[in-house]
Symmetry: C2
Subunit: 340 residues, 2 copies
């Protein structure tokens, strides 16, 4: 699509059958690796992306001296379908383009990633899977679908199944975006900017906690006022992104449920029980859409499950890499789990 040099790879799967029946011909899985695979292929970490994030948005958790140290580990960041780099509404040719891009599930993502990891990279067992938010959801999906490959898992600020309240939050941002007539059922020629800005403004209430706003912590992030934060951070996060791509990933998110993995027949508890990883869930204390209670509930069914709550006021974005204290907390858990 682009002829510019790029810093990542594209792995193509010729005829990739999606769970809901459509076939991507081919599916394109964009990924980037950091570090070197060791001789016995035992040091690979899979670290999937979050809602609308790209591989470079994950890099804050990788570095010398950190748990995800590329001197020590071979870190693979696969871009989620729909994020604009892997197969997405915005980059897929007709007839599966734009408003016609098919539904993609968490399991579809993990199926493609599994093919990449095993067939293309020749890795049979991972050291760890980790990720933030929808990256956490993919972590759970890896641990359920391929328990023999995943000895360690650290999903942070996410869940094994999207709760009803989380679903409703997503209904709200979706409704705000599609209220803009310029969206035209997904077949716009110019972006539905009013809808995208509304989407961002609704999202703003959810991403950080009430206390974060009370304390005006956005000022520490360099924003001069609330409105500067709403425009500079929130509209800035979404305005350049493709509306169909956002809705594609939103559907993936809403439908996330590892209980739907083949063999579990919708029984979430049974699916969680099948996890063989030491799975340390790391929710944030004041996350408004992935509250710690939900992770506590799931953890009780996971044989090697435990929960560590990130304290503080950053809410969901405790896992976004912008607050050093939260990043240190997550990195600490990762170090502990990797050492075990």
């Amino acid at each position: 699509m682009t002829t510019e040099p790029r810093d990542y790879e594209i792995f193509e799967i010729p005829d990739f059958r999606l769970e809901h029946g459509a076939t991507l011909r081919p599916a394109r899985l964009a990924y980037k690796t950091y570090g070197t695979l060791n001789a016995d292929r035992s040091n690979a970490i899979v670290y999937p992306t979050w809602y609308s994030g790209r591989h470079w948005d994950n890099e804050w958790l990788i570095g010398p001296g950190m748990a995800l140290d590329p001197e020590r580990y071979f870190i693979i960041i696969p871009n989620m379908f729909g994020n604009g780099l892997s197969s997405s509404p915005s980059n897929t040719p007709a007839p599966y383009d734009r408003g016609r891009f098919p539904h993609v599930t968490m399991l579809d993502n993990i199926n493609a990633q599994h093919t990449l990891v095993t067939e293309h990279l020749g890795i049979e067992r991972l050291a760890l899977v980790t990720g933030w938010s929808m990256g956490a959801g993919q972590t759970y999906q890896w641990a359920v679908r391929h328990p023999e490959m995943v000895p360690r898992a650290v999903p942070f600020c996410g869940s094994a199944k999207t709760s009803l309240h989380n679903f409703v939050f997503l209904e709200g941002v979706k409704a705000a975006l599609t209220a803009d007539a310029e969206f035209r059922g997904g077949f716009y020629d110019t972006p539905p900017t009013k809808g995208l800005r509304a989407f961002a403004r609704v999202y703003a209430g959810w991403g950080f906690s009430q206390a974060f706003y009370w304390d005006e912590t956005f000022r520490e992030m360099g924003y001069s006022s609330l409105e500067d934060f709403l425009i500079g951070f929130w509209e800035g996060l979404f305005i350049g992104k493709d509306a169909n791509d956002l809705l594609c990933m939103l559907w993936t998110w809403q439908q996330a449920d590892v209980g739907r993995t083949p063999g579990y027949d919708g029984e979430l508890r049974n699916a969680l029980s099948a996890i063989r990883a030491r799975l340390c869930a790391v929710p944030a204390e004041k996350d408004l859409y992935f509250p710690p209670e939900d992770e506590q509930w799931s953890s009780q069914f996971i044989p090697g499950g435990e929960v560590r709550v990130i304290p503080g006021t950053w809410g969901h974005f405790a896992g976004g890499g912008a607050n050093p204290a939260d990043t240190a907390f997550i990195d600490g858990v990762l170090k502990e789990v990797l050492a075990s």
Copy 2:
């Protein structure tokens, strides 16, 4: 405006100057009373409406044997400006009609209510002011503006000042509504229904707690599915209401701050310190936009301030009258405060 018989009164104030400079000629304050004013005019309770509520939406808290017993008290429910019964964008003639209706503050509402209570009804001192949500905000505004008239106050699920996070939540619903091009800057001939439905769907994430959805408590309310609840309850709550009216009250809500009462120069703490009422704030444990922490903060500056938290999962709608346990809690606090 209407020639149908109505069950409420209209009090007109000929030239009602609003805080922000515009004048309603006249302001129309719709209200209804319950019970009888006693001989020494000492049994009056003011019970203002909430966001988009009308006087009849308040009646669940009034009844024989309840704290607000019309056999004992003279209960006045003034309808908030913008709610479609009192002066509102939807019922005010040009040039102050529709998208040109002026900004109205909490203090404007209380100024009009005060004129009604003192000059029209001849009451010099109230027994109590109480209300839910924006009705709680009006309760605070009464207690700060007329401390000598308000010996008791029970604001439930509200605050003295709209917090930044609450402001952001409202920015979200506003952006969803106005993303609909049919809104036409407030000069629509047919309602912007897509925007109204988006407004409702965003609101749905905020009104009840995460745990309420987790437990599927909406089924106890008679809804057969999540989608039935989103349409039947939430879209039903807002679809018949006027978009400009909703935005008028939303502005009032966003700007609410008793610190802006004349004499306090924006100093919220000083304004709270001036309250002479026994003020028992009743936030709900899991209210997502009026969290108990905010009321705890305010309470420390109120000489007769205290806080009683409604336990449970209903969130903001603990104060909406639909859950008997929460209603009993609020009624209990009202009885205790009225007995003191």
